[in-house]
Subunit: 334 residues, 2 copies
DNA sequence: GTGAAAGCGCTAACAA
DNA sequence: TTGTTAGCGCTTTCAC
């Protein structure tokens, strides 16, 4: 296929009349080499079309300069965009620091996730950034000897660095905004509380109500599988309890909500106001455009990568937990 | 962090009182080992919590069992979902065959792409599946000594396997459907023809018109940057030329179209019909729900992975070009 | 300023 | 049925 068959550092050394050590040092800048020798080596590398074999390099140096990102990126069209933005953020700082990113999918399922961790652990990675699929799992027993940074969510009782969104604060803010507009019966629609994120959003909702002296009505709280059709059905159920607003903590469910309201010609926000999580392009073209909470996905990735690199530098630095602020974007649906 | 410091095959061998060769063969099933010995070896591996070092394994065996997928996965929230579905398809067959998938982002930019190819080529991959960002580039000079399968699009004059969507046929079908409903002035809105996909869709459009004896009106054809706002603006321009239908070959532009029509309260399909590319969940919740062309993204990935594995098996098999059929989903917008 | 050589953890040819 | 050992391509210590 290509003439770059098996050109090794040895061939380059021979061609340039130097030792392999010198070639290696030229490549890595790890010790002084005279200009003249450098020139010869570069010449030889060009002539032979030499490409470093980073597998051999990793084996010897015990560093791969590869960071893995494990998240439910293939799971659904919504979660995948959030995590892809996170990935883009991670990538941007890794690239600057000469690290590489490997994306790995967890399917949001524990079993898949463990498989991937096993695989990654044997591939020699220098670090793992992950959005755990479960709070309950004891991940530590699966990890290899590399730093781990949790992103977006964390498992219970973990001892690692983490970079999270301040879900509670922004959820509270959103609900308070609704309360400020006179809403008293505010429904809460979300996926199961198996993730710390969902739980935190719930807490924000409860706190806003409580502080405003509004009684929490369990009829207005619905938890269910995160699908469009489930959002649709639960909206139907919720409407029987006469809410004047719905706070949906998931984007896909929000589509279900909107499709229900549209189909039944229920006026938004006249009859019912809607606030949803996540800013996607489609939230601007619903009728009316949606009020949403925009999560700093890219920045989450940037921060996580920064934390990772710091951790690699200094294994003993104190543990960090970062909370990034999300932004409420008020549009016509509320 | 973890007690699995440096357990090698050697430690296992010592612990089990066998040779490293035996351990290796137990792991890989590459030659007969007595049950008794196998048991001892497994025992030792468990005791020591041994994990294979696949870097060493790759170095020695010159196979990594890793396939890379290079595509514009981080570029935009739309393209990314298409390619993530492709990735899921690839993943599903690789997993069954004990291969691993590494996702790599091209940003839809040649420079990024070359960077990634360079990096991948030094990482010892067994194959590369890619959606080239450009038709013009001579990719072959960048590739290493592994098979390459093009997916979704191909560069000019390539000599590789490819797995593509039958864009022309389905586009033609869509336009014919519009013609069948009496439309004569059908607008065509797309991104630049730098990708084979866009070009093929254009050909389908032209062919449908021509065969129906409808003159092609260049005023009804608009090419532009693939963004929501550009879709919005070009719709405004197009409407000055009185089309009764719009065929948009890109999903993000379609959002722009819909947002314009909605904002100006233009009836769909009464005043203007809309057909767009790609089936996303949001296309079901626009008013009215969109008629779209659904690409077999997952199947594309499956096929590409299959072709790749065949190619790895047999480097000299004849070159394959596969065309998968896309599906027109007629909903209320047309 | 540069070279020789050991060895990372594994696989596989050869030997027994 | 199993063991011995060379060597994959690189980095890095030690020596000069």
């Amino acid at each position: 296929m290509n003439e770059n068959k098996n050109i090794s550092i040895k061939d380059v050394a021979k061609h340039a009349n130097v030792s392999t050590a010198t070639v290696s040092h030229v490549i890595n800048g790890t010790r002084f080499v005279s200009e003249e020798t450098k020139r010869k080596v570069h010449q030889a590398m060009d002539d032979l079309n030499y490409r470093i074999n980073s597998v051999a390099r990793s084996l010897r140096s015990r560093k791969s300069h590869v960071i893995a990102f494990l998240a439910p990126i293939l799971a659904s069209e919504t979660s995948n965009f959030f995590f892809m933005s996170v990935a883009a953020g991670i990538q941007s700082v890794l690239k600057q620091n000469n690290y590489h990113l490997v994306l790995s999918d967890s399917h949001e399922e524990l079993e898949f996730e463990e498989d991937e961790i096993r695989m990654l652990s044997s591939q020699m990675i220098d670090g793992l950034i992950m959005a755990p699929a479960s709070r309950e799992c004891d991940y530590d027993q699966h990890f290899g000897d590399y730093p781990v940074v949790y992103i977006d969510r964390v498992p219970n009782n973990h001892q690692r660095d983490s970079v999270l969104v301040d879900n509670k604060t922004v959820s509270k803010e959103a609900v308070q905004m609704l309360i400020g507009k006179g809403h008293k019966r505010i429904a809460f629609l979300s996926g199961p509380h198996t993730l710390t994120t969902t739980e935190e959003r719930y807490e924000g909702y409860i706190e806003a109500l409580t502080e405003a002296g509004i009684a929490v009505d369990s009829q207005l709280i619905r938890i269910g599988e995160v699908t469009l059709s489930n959002g649709y059905q639960l909206t139907d159920v919720l409407l029987q309890h006469d809410p004047s607003a719905i706070f949906v903590t998931d984007n896909v469910m929000a589509m279900g909500v909107m499709s229900y309201l549209q189909e039944k010609s229920i006026r938004v926000p006249g009859r019912i106001a809607v606030v949803a999580f996540d800013e996607f392009q489609w939230t601007r073209i619903t009728s009316p455009p949606l009020t949403v909470i925009e999560q700093p996905a890219f920045e989450l990735g940037v921060k996580a990568a920064e934390v990772m690199l710091e951790r690699i530098e200094n294994a003993n630095a104190p543990r960090q937990e970062h909370r990034l602020t999300a932004k409420l974007i008020v549009r016509q649906s509320s």
